[in-house]
């Protein structure tokens, strides 16, 4: 087994753009679910409109990349309003149904043949982020190694900007959640009617929360789109939403750094397992009768699922969570 490759992959995964993608998605869900108690099962949809808003603006309409980023954010706001308008007035589970359905509709529309001229169908849209890499202070094509980390110049640039966005969102979350505004959100999570009886417009707060978290998800989609110079519809499958939830719960919901830490650990474990299993296959450690090469891609999900179950049993509040907060119900 190539231990060097294994270590480099695992360490590099800490800062890689996919990690940023899931961290931003989880940060958005932290606002929705962690602080406000909204069950958004369609975060992948918000991430998709961010990525596609950018790619379509640049590739199909020929607008500049920067306008495209604003369009991506604008679509996320619009989507939040569209979903929130009917669903936030209803009980919580309706929002879950509406959001999961909307996210799938967005993905299916993006990959359908009828929209191929705009959204590129199955293969998506490619090579639209040149303007971003023109500003790169590093050499785009060079490879940079720092100890166990190894990134290309392109990766370094998107990672620097991407983690900057993550820190900015963490700061935003911190500032908002220490304020009376954040107090209203946390109170809505505990009991909506109590908040209503104290004269707060619960609906308006839930809408603000949905928009804010949705925009964070869209930023994740935008970072990955620029990082890969490509958008593909199946990146935004329902699985993406649940990986974000997994990351959030692993790190600790309703904590500023919960989704960041959880996202890193989740993706590093995901990536690490993948590399290790592949290496074991190459070294013929696992006989074909136990696991074939086609099964290996799925086995990592089995391990990850098992690990999440153990987490829920032994540390349900996540790594950074406060056990005391879980102690009361109702």
């Amino acid at each position: 087994m190539n231990w060097n490759l294994i270590f480099t992959s695992i360490f590099s995964a800490i800062f890689i753009k996919e990690t940023i993608f899931y961290v931003l998605g989880a940060q958005g869900l932290n606002i929705h679910y962690g602080y406000t108690g909204l069950m958004n099962f369609g975060q992948a949809g918000f991430m998709a409109v961010g990525a596609y808003g950018l790619a379509v603006s640049v590739e199909t309409f020929g607008w500049s990349l920067w306008v495209g980023i604003l369009v991506g954010i604008g679509w996320a706001i619009l989507l939040a309003l569209l979903l929130g308008l009917p669903a936030l007035r209803l009980r919580g589970d309706y929002l879950a149904i509406v959001t999961i359905a909307a996210a799938e509709i967005i993905r299916l529309v993006a990959r359908s043949e009828s929209t191929e001229s705009v959204a590129g169908g199955n293969s998506g849209i490619n090579n639209f982020a040149g303007a971003f890499y023109d500003l790169n202070p590093w050499v785009n094509t060079r490879r940079y190694d720092f100890g166990p980390f190894s990134y290309s110049g392109q990766d370094l640039w998107i990672q620097a900007v991407g983690w900057g966005v993550v820190l900015l969102m963490a700061l935003l979350t911190f500032l908002l959640m220490r304020s009376p505004w954040g107090r209203v959100l946390r109170s809505i999570r505990e009991n909506e009617d109590a908040v209503r009886s104290l004269g707060k417009n619960v609906y308006a707060y839930k809408m603000q929360s949905l928009v804010l978290g949705g925009v964070m998800g869209a930023l994740g989609g935008i970072v990955l789109a620029i990082g890969n110079q490509s958008v593909q519809p199946d990146t935004f499958a329902t699985r993406t939403t649940f990986i974000c939830y997994g990351a959030l719960i692993l790190g600790g919901a309703a904590r500023v750094w919960g989704p960041v830490l959880g996202g890193i650990i989740f993706y590093v474990a995901f990536r690490g397992l993948d590399v290790i299993i592949r290496q074991m296959e190459k070294a013929d450690i696992v006989p074909e009768s136990i696991m074939t090469s086609t099964q290996s891609g799925v086995v990592r999900f089995v391990f990850l699922g098992g690990a999440l179950m153990l987490l829920m049993v032994f540390r349900p509040q996540g790594i950074l969570g406060d056990r005391k907060e879980l102690a009361f119900d109702g």
């Binding site: 220490r178 505004w181 109590a194 908040v195 104290l198 707060k200 619960v202």
Partner: protein
């Protein structure tokens, strides 16, 4: 009125009633809240069908009635948490038809709930701060800059601390509300409602699930609200409590207001006693259920009569 003393069988005078007739739907000299033709149906069941009712300003009005009489439903309707199928209701002369609950609260009518709705994962002091209305820091953009709301927050905290002290919850200030006892939660909810300086406080069974030691303190707090010029409407089952603190009693049964009057009037009212005894004789129910209901109703009616007789030895009255 209720806190007048005197052991001899009392004659309720006109002065006791403030010139208001002891009859359902009686007009009051200065009603803070009035409702006309309120009807709420759940499917085929008429839960509330109130022809007319008024609640007098600066008084403590008790809303009583047997289980299923529609008291809590009426509460929900009056406070905007539910909308009636028909009817009109006014708070300080303003129609509240179609007004959402948070706006009703902002207008000065704040309610509490039968099952306490403490925000369990917030500390006691944060629960209190939430109660303050119209905070600058509760708006999205000002929230980002602490300097814009920190001085207001300090004022709110000072007010909250005062109220916590008054309600004897100051030692629990930093605890999660979820770690309070049932009675303490009732106190917290009442204190939190007062953060908005309401004109009318609607208490839904404030004494339910509260231990007797705390009941007296709660009663004291409710009376104090009246002394401070607030009006109080409360739902209650315990007749001793009703006799102890209410100036006026409104009795509901099967969705209707069947009687009104001073606590003493009500204790002698045949319609009320009948309502508590139940009129289920003709109903097609399992005999055991009928028997159970009869016993329950008799016990309640007995308590009602007893407390009517021993009217005002309130503080020592033994509780069931």
């Amino acid at each position: 009125m209720a806190d007048a003393t005197g052991a001899e069988p009392r004659v309720v005078t006109e002065a006791d009633r403030g010139g208001v007739l002891p009859e359902p739907g009686a007009a009051k000299p200065d009603p803070i809240l009035s409702a006309t033709g309120i009807e709420r149906r759940f499917g085929g069941v008429v839960a509330v069908d109130v022809a007319h009712v008024e609640f007098q300003r600066h008084q403590i009005t008790a809303l009583i009635g047997p289980n299923g009489a529609g008291k809590t439903t009426l509460f929900n309707l009056l406070t905007g948490f539910d909308q009636p199928n028909a009817g009109e209701w006014r708070f300080n002369g303003t129609s509240l038809s179609g007004v959402p609950p948070h706006k009703v609260a902002r207008m000065g009518m704040v309610r509490t709930f039968q099952l306490t709705k403490s925000l369990t994962k917030l500390t006691v002091i944060e629960n209190m701060r939430l109660g303050a209305p119209d905070q600058r820091g509760e708006r999205f953009f000002p929230a980002l800059v602490k300097g814009l709301w920190s001085s207001e927050e300090d004022e709110i905290t000072a007010r909250a601390d005062e109220l916590l002290e008054r309600f004897k919850l100051d030692h629990m200030r930093e605890e999660f509300a979820g770690s309070l006892s049932g009675g303490q939660r009732k106190l917290l909810e009442m204190a939190r409602a007062l953060m908005g300086s309401p004109e009318l406080v609607m208490l839904d069974e404030p004494m339910a699930g509260v231990n007797p030691a705390l009941t007296q303190s709660l009663l004291g707090h409710v009376k104090a609200l009246r002394e401070e010029g607030m009006s109080v409407v409360f739902v209650e089952h315990d007749m001793d409590v009703v006799h102890d603190i209410s100036d006026w009693v409104v009795v509901m049964a099967e969705g209707r207001v069947i009687a009104e009057g001073t606590p003493t009037d009500i204790g002698r009212n045949q319609a009320v006693i009948d309502a508590y005894l139940g009129t289920h004789h003709g109903e097609d129910l399992h005999p055991e259920i009928v028997e159970h209901r009869r016993l329950e109703a008799e016990a309640e009616a007995e308590a009602l009569e007893q407390s009517a007789e021993g009217d005002s030895d309130d503080d020592t009255a033994e509780r069931p």
